[in-house]
Symmetry: D2
Subunit: 140 residues, 4 copies
């Protein structure tokens, strides 16, 4: 069974724009929080990965927005992994407000060292996060 | 011949993160500047479109990052349209530093009115921006 | 005895800059969270104040930074009121990491209506928040 | 005669919030642009100062807001220095839209080295920026 990591977000005033809802770039910041939440939950705080020389810069991202998130709304971001490779990871996110799906997206990351050279994701991390790996079929 | 709108960006200190390069969400803000630059160039400032009741919220976005942009770098964002429909537009962006392509992406927008109901893009806007419409083949 | 409202903050990656610590503007966003936390705790969510026609725009702010806050640090923001008047409020903030005082600051707000005209802070709000009012002497 | 450095800003959509005007934290980002503009104009790009081991972290800031800045507004930020010491600088900013003064503020900076130890501002920088030094009286 695939594990899912859930982050809880409260929409900040500064994250809204003059349309009255959260600016579309805010979702990337929430994805970032959700992703580091998953890593922490798996026992590998991103902070420690970085200081250990394994960085995970974003190399591609995508987001679809279905409904606006308003100031002070309480949101859940559910995070899974859809790709777990030795040098690349893809996280997938669903942003919900109660029963409503507000947005979904994904971010793809390469693992690099301090000199920005591609390297393997540490084995302990790979093992720990594999429990969150899903398949497109399973995630209906 | 397809027109291209070019925006000039200087990377802000606040846009960098502890990796030392611009945070991946910054590209969305630059896309936003570039898109409103294209509309202004076409004679239809987004500010006036909004006050006239034609808003263009982002409904999907995508970005691929090839190389980091550093603080104070001078960047060009080249913007074209890859979809021009009566109720939906897709803008495409290429972020360059001199000869290097740092990133590329696109944003898809629906046209809505003040009550968030889908409406037609004003005809004058459609005509004006059609000069920036490209095809995947032409944009090699 | 003066009540103090405490907000818990975890430093976001996007809030850091290339100096490796949180950008100085991030403190204003944390102050904003802390201030709305105090209002909620006092029974008057800012969201409801706004929809009731009582807005609290910032008219002045100040912040002194003593030590940098790092990515993923757990911070506490302690919030009090140093001025409670019928049309103006001043909140004061102390940002702590464990025993260390990282920064302190204040924000001054006018109460305005939907048309941006000065108005009285609703009486119920004034009463509720007066418990958080301190004096410079008491707050040593 | 005191020199003044002028930066030109166009308010970004993402800088607005649901009140419909620029979020109060945006002014700090504009101050940052204006300050680096002054340094560049004086012949000492901040980028080069940093790579030369002279950093200028903000240790205190203040801002008073008189009128809201709207999306797409063209603003001027006029920057002077009100304190030029061997290890500390204070910049002062006035944000104008045409004839209107929208906001004013200041930021105080210490000069530190790569290890965050206080150091002297490089002499060449001190000499170059002294032309922008004003006095409270002169700046009426």
């Amino acid at each position: 069974m695939t594990k899912v990591s859930t982050a809880h977000i409260q929409v900040r005033y500064a994250e809204t724009d003059k349309m009255g809802v959260a600016h579309h770039a805010s979702y990337l910041l929430w994805f970032e929080l959700a992703r580091t939440g998953l890593l922490r939950e798996a026992g590998h705080a991103y902070r420690e990965m970085e200081s250990g020389g394994a960085l995970l810069p974003v190399v591609e991202y995508n987001c679809r927005l279905y409904r606006g998130a308003e100031y002070d709304d309480s949101l859940r971001v559910e995070t899974r992994l859809v790709e777990v490779r030795s040098r690349a990871l893809t996280f997938e996110y669903k942003v919900r407000r109660g029963d409503e799906l507000l947005a979904e997206g994904w971010t793809r990351h390469l693992c690099v060292d301090d000199d920005n050279r591609t390297r393997r994701v540490p084995d302990a991390v790979l093992r720990a996060i594999s429990a969150y790996k899903t398949t497109p079929e399973a995630d209906a």
